[in-house]
């Protein structure tokens, strides 16, 4: 009887400890994000109030309006959409073809070497490429032009797309294609009509993934673009920090604008997040 009570007590204690730890982790994770949202809705006067107010006493969207009317945030956002959209689309088309080849014919020895070359670029830290890419793009007059960044992002997305799509293609049974080809369909036709539709969820996940990576990318964007003519949202946001100094409200609002679409996208592909983060090493 005693034993039973102590077991129940033990279990209850563990339950409470666990609950406490989970709540603690959630608080540490979410409080900083909440603080940015909260700050973005405050007036400049309230931001400097001491002690700080836990929620805005009279919420205002003034900071957001200022961003678009005075700080070119609309232009940065548009640049991001154009650059990220093009890079993701191109890398998805080209990369899926490579992925299909890797998944279906990848047993060849020569081809296996090629696998390595497709993946290798991902191992190289961006900083090792930034000086030469800057100098090369400068010679072609592509600095501070959307096209320059589109090329760079496409190249960086490709290994990722190829490897992620490869792991999705490998999950599709070869029999289906072979059956179609026995019935007279060509390899490309069976790819288009059978493989692609089956791989569609993977394609969507991969697209959203490369979208997250490119949309958040800062290092290359900072070096290859500078003005509202071509600069992306992260660069515009970082520039704002320098210009606004103590306009914390606008800084916070820019952070919210940059973060919200991505958080939504990421939650949509949560199921595939692990595969994407490890490039298929862990499923």
């Amino acid at each position: 009887m005693r034993l039973l009570t102590s077991n129940t007590q033990k279990r209850r204690l563990w339950f409470v400890t666990r609950l406490f730890l989970i709540v603690l982790a959630l608080t540490i994770t979410l409080l900083p994000v909440y603080w940015m949202v909260n700050t973005s809705l405050k007036t400049q006067v309230e931001i400097f109030a001491s002690p700080p107010t836990l929620w805005s006493q009279n919420p205002t969207v003034e900071n957001y309006v200022n961003l678009f009317t005075r700080r070119h945030l609309g232009a940065y956002l548009l640049n991001s959409v154009i650059i990220v959209g093009s890079a993701v689309f191109v890398s998805l088309v080209i990369g899926s073809l490579a992925a299909y080849s890797l998944a279906r014919f990848g047993k060849d020895r020569l081809q296996q070497k090629l696998n390595f070359w497709v993946l290798a670029p991902r191992m190289i830290p961006p900083v090792a490429l930034v000086v030469p890419l800057f100098l090369i793009l400068q010679q072609f007059g592509l600095i501070n032009k959307p096209l320059g960044l589109i090329l760079v992002y496409t190249a960086f997305n490709l290994p990722f797309v190829a490897w992620m799509m490869r792991s999705f293609f490998q999950e599709i049974p070869v029999d289906l294609e072979e059956a179609a080809m026995v019935d007279g369909a060509s390899r490309l036709r069976s790819f288009r009509d059978i493989v692609l539709p089956l791989a569609a969820p993977g394609l969507v996940a991969t697209a959203i993934f490369s979208l997250i990576i490119t949309y958040n990318e800062f290092f290359f964007a900072l070096i290859l673009t500078s003005t509202p003519r071509a600069a992306t949202l992260p660069v515009g946001t970082a520039a704002l920090i320098g210009k606004t100094q103590t306009l914390y409200g606008e800084m916070a609002a820019a952070g919210v604008v940059a973060a919200v679409p991505l958080v939504i996208f990421a939650l949509l592909v949560q199921r595939h997040l692990v595969r994407g983060l490890t490039m298929g090493a862990v499923k």
Binding site: V127, A128, F134, I241, A252
Partner: protein, 287 residues
Amino acid sequence: MPGWRVKLLPWALIAPTAVFALAMTVLPLVYSVLTSLQEFPLGRAPVFVGLQNYQNLLHDANFGRSLATTLIFTIVATAVEFVLGLALALLLKEEFAFQGIIRSSLIIPMVIAPVVVGIIWRLLYNADVGLFSFAVQALTGRSFSVLSSTTMALPALIVVDIWEWTPFMFLILLAGIQSLPLEPFEAARVDGASPWNIFVHLTLPMLKPVIVVALLIRALDAFTVFDQVFVLTQGGPGTATEVATLMIYKTAFRFSQFGYGASMAIALLALVLSFSAAVTRAFKGSV
């Protein structure tokens, strides 16, 4: 389809990707080596200087210190993220109420753009309005700006990295734990093994391949950290938080010393590649 076309197809499909990789990775790398052998005097054509840049690099105390800073940052951040991520994964591996929402919430820091993460922590660390600074002031009675302190700026940046990337460790380790076979654990439980023994002798060894992948990816990314440092401290105060990537950025793009910057980047690349090669070799059997 004629035979040669069938044979060619795998190559044709992969060709565009290979061309891109060649043009945007291999070519720049070669160009980078060439650049690192040159000097770029302002307003004049670049001059070939041989290995001069590398020689200077060996005697550059700033670069050495920058590497040391980067190493401290990488080791501390990765280690803490691993321990916290593993703890979270163990804490959340069983079914419980609201687990979907809780897991989604926990990964938010990781998907927010690093620049925005920088903003978030600026708002917390800032001396005049920061929540964190307010708490410090309430506790110690004096105003204190974490990011302008030579001793506290680096730990403060490490805290930011831990906040941002613990979710990554959590997510990957959780996936690893959930994909482990159940039988050995049931057998151990029947034999009366304690939870601690099960963890040390079953969970950890079986999880090793996943752990290696997670640590490697995270360490390599931390080693080339830039965005958050750029937004929060720009390497300051002084050079207290000048990580390697930031130093290369400043050398090449603020001071236009492209040759010297390129030689630093090559040195960094060599370090990163030999590190990954060593890890991959050491764990070849298990990964």
